[in-house]
């Protein structure tokens, strides 16, 4: 993308605005009317995800030569934000697919791997997943126990991965899995691309989660799962890098989801506060209410700027680890607060599963956990500040 001017840090370009308006229109007409039902029935809406793919939502940031739009990381953040304003489950389906499945293939894949896995992903024809977290540890990748051993010219993978997005639905095509590989007496991590349907790769049934009911999250079991040498993604023994590098971009995605969820919650709360009367006037006139809304508005704007800034740095090819961590940390905590205040302002009605209010409340909490907990992110920032050793 073109170099960022100082103005672009504060204002979207015409293209970015046009993409935002299209996704907003799509989300309001094709997602909003059904989001409550999908949430209630834990339904993964494959058709809508496919339609979003046809629109080009999965390829926004990928280069045109790999089926994308080449519109950059800020535009991608805007797309994810708009989806989360209506339905976080759809936003995470898109965000995870792009940031942690597509991005590693773009960064570390061979030309053949890019053609086979990235191009259809960017065109929205299939979904990818990334599996690093295990039941025994997430951010502590050294605790990872899944292994891959050499046997008859193949890699044989064994182990269990936990909390994996997009691995087991009808659009799922592949998972990138990290596993310990024995080299020179050590056992560093390597990453492998495993196609769905490979013998011994067994996605389990979906979890019942607190929120994100319409997204596909499962445990994955690898039981003597054999893949050829071509499945190796990135250099042998460098799986930690394959896992960690896209994580910063993934954090921009979660930050964008947080901004979108917070924005949706604020809009719900504002509309209700204007409409609901108590003691003869709309409750919005009460300082106790409009101060809450004014605070949220301010915090959301700050979260949005942190998010766009991290994305703009990524787009410009500059370091953004600290900025992505800060954006995700701040935005996710704003999202949790916005969802809670939205419910509080709605009073008893907010506690009834008949509006989007409880869904937003349940969907918010994962944002301070996934893609690095708030605690890990504070550590990342402190480390960037040179405070940890």
């Amino acid at each position: 993308m073109s170099t960022m001017t100082s103005c672009q840090m504060f204002e979207l370009t015409d293209d970015q605005r046009a993409l935002r308006d299209t996704i907003r229109e799509f989300a309001e007409s094709e997602i909003a009317p059904h989001a409550g039902e999908w949430d209630e029935t834990h339904h993964f809406p494959a058709d809508v995800v496919r339609q979003l793919g046809e629109l080009g939502a999965m390829g926004v940031a990928f280069p045109e030569e790999y089926g994308g739009l080449g519109a950059g990381a800020v535009a991608m953040a805007v797309v994810v934000e708009e989806l989360a304003r209506i339905d976080s489950s759809i936003a995470v389906t898109v965000g995870a697919n792009v940031s942690i499945a597509g991005e590693p293939v773009l960064l570390f894949g061979t030309e053949e791997q890019k053609q086979r896995w990235l191009v259809p992903l960017a065109r929205g024809e299939h979904l990818g997943a990334f599996a690093s977290t295990e039941p025994g540890g997430g951010s502590d990748v050294r605790a990872s126990t899944t292994s891959a051993r050499r046997e008859d010219g193949c890699w044989v993978i064994n182990g269990t991965k936990a909390f994996i997005t997009n691995a087991g639905n009808e659009l799922s095509a592949f998972v990138i899995v990290t596993a310990r590989t024995p080299i020179d007496g050590g056992a560093p991590l390597s990453a492998f691309i495993v196609p769905n349907g490979t013998l011994g790769y067994e996605p389990q049934k979906p979890y019942r989660k607190l929120g994100w009911h319409a997204s596909d999250t499962r445990e994955l079991v690898f039981n003597d799962c054999r893949v050829p040498d071509e499945a190796l993604l990135g250099p042998l023994g460098k799986g930690a890098r394959v896992f960690l590098t896209p994580l910063d971009g993934g954090r921009i995605g979660v930050a964008a989801m947080s901004v979108g969820l917070a924005q949706g919650a604020l809009e719900q709360a504002t509309a209700y506060a204007k409409e609901r009367t108590a003691f003869g006037a709309p409750i919005a006139r009460q300082q106790a209410i409009h101060f809450k809304l004014a605070d949220l508005k301010t915090q959301i704007e700050a979260a949005r700027l942190l998010t766009y800034r991290a994305a703009a740095l990524k787009e410009a090819g500059k370091p953004f680890t600290e900025e992505a961590a800060a954006a995700k940390l701040f935005a996710s905590e704003v999202a949790v607060r916005a969802a809670e205040e939205n419910l509080q302002i709605h009073g008893g009605f907010g506690y009834i599963e008949e509006s989007a209010v409880p869904r937003f409340y349940r969907d918010a909490k994962i944002l301070t956990i996934g893609e690095g907990t708030s605690e890990i992110l504070r550590y990342v920032i402190a480390r960037q500040m040179g405070l940890t050793e």
Binding site: D14, D15, A18, T22, L55, G56, V60, L69, A71, V79
Partner: protein, 255 residues
């Protein structure tokens, strides 16, 4: 055989964003200007025909200078080029004046098929399509809900609903048809289409005909006052309330 289409597109206020001011009864416009919904069916049909048979889709709109949003939207959906015919105040023209301006422009263009929405979301006069056909001496088929192109192009089989059934017409191009709902499901512009739209040409031309003086004047639209109020049966047990309701419905000869 390629089929070149021109679509007449009108920019209208977003009807979902119009609110009625309770005190004055007057509409308050909000939101952006959008493509009139019947015109979206016309655009979609032209693009589908292009995809199936080749050819080029041009959209033409009459508007104030700079009012290109609806043309850009059509280009993002897949149309190839746009023409904006400008007049200083489009709302000052009656439908015949609009049709005359458009017809004049269309005379300088070549096409096989002219498409228009049956009417517009705002005034719903349903005039402009038929008037343009008349001015250009083209056959008109209105309220079309299905288009089939015969092998070799330039011969169409069109379906239209009438009050008492369905007509199937065969017609040679050039022809003007007006589109209604049911013809197709207009697509969302793809993100790639949106990025590409600004590279497509939009020609802006000032109308070179003197619009006729107003033959129609419009008063300000006002929402009708509600003169009938509902009756709420309350404070009685449900069974009695139901009896009262049934009694009232019988009294009104509604059941």
């Amino acid at each position: 055989m390629a089929l070149n289409s021109v679509v007449l597109v009108k920019q209208v206020p977003d009807m979902n964003a119009v609110k009625i001011d309770r005190a004055s009864g007057k509409p308050v416009m909000g939101g952006q200007n959008v493509v009139s919904s019947y015109d979206a069916y016309a655009i979609e049909e032209a693009i589908k025909l292009k995809e199936a048979h080749g050819g080029e889709v041009t959209v033409i709109s009459l508007g104030a200078p700079g009012a290109k949003d609806v043309i850009t939207r059509a280009l993002a959906m897949g149309a190839d080029r746009g023409v904006l015919v400008t007049v200083p105040d489009p709302n000052a023209l009656d439908t015949l004046a609009v049709a005359q301006v458009l017809a004049k422009q269309l005379q300088a263009m070549t096409f096989d098929l002219l498409l228009a929405g049956q009417g517009s979301d705002d005034y719903e006069d349903n005039h402009v399509g038929p008037q343009v056909a008349e001015l250009l001496g083209l056959p008109l088929v209105s309220n079309v809900n299905s288009v089939e192109v015969a092998e070799g192009g330039h011969h169409l089989t069109l379906q239209r609903d009438t009050e008492d059934g369905r007509q199937i017409l065969e017609v040679d191009t050039p022809v003007l048809l007006t589109a209604i709902s049911g013809l197709n499901e207009p697509r969302y512009p793809s993100l790639k289409g949106i990025m590409g739209a600004k590279k497509k040409p939009i020609e802006q031309v000032a109308a070179d005909v003197e619009p006729a003086a107003d033959r129609i004047t419009w008063s300000d639209p006002v929402a009708p006052e509600r003169t009938v109020t509902g009756t709420i049966v309350q404070g009685v047990p449900a069974a009695d309330a139901a009896k009262q309701l049934v009694g009232w419905l019988k009294e009104q000869k509604l059941i």
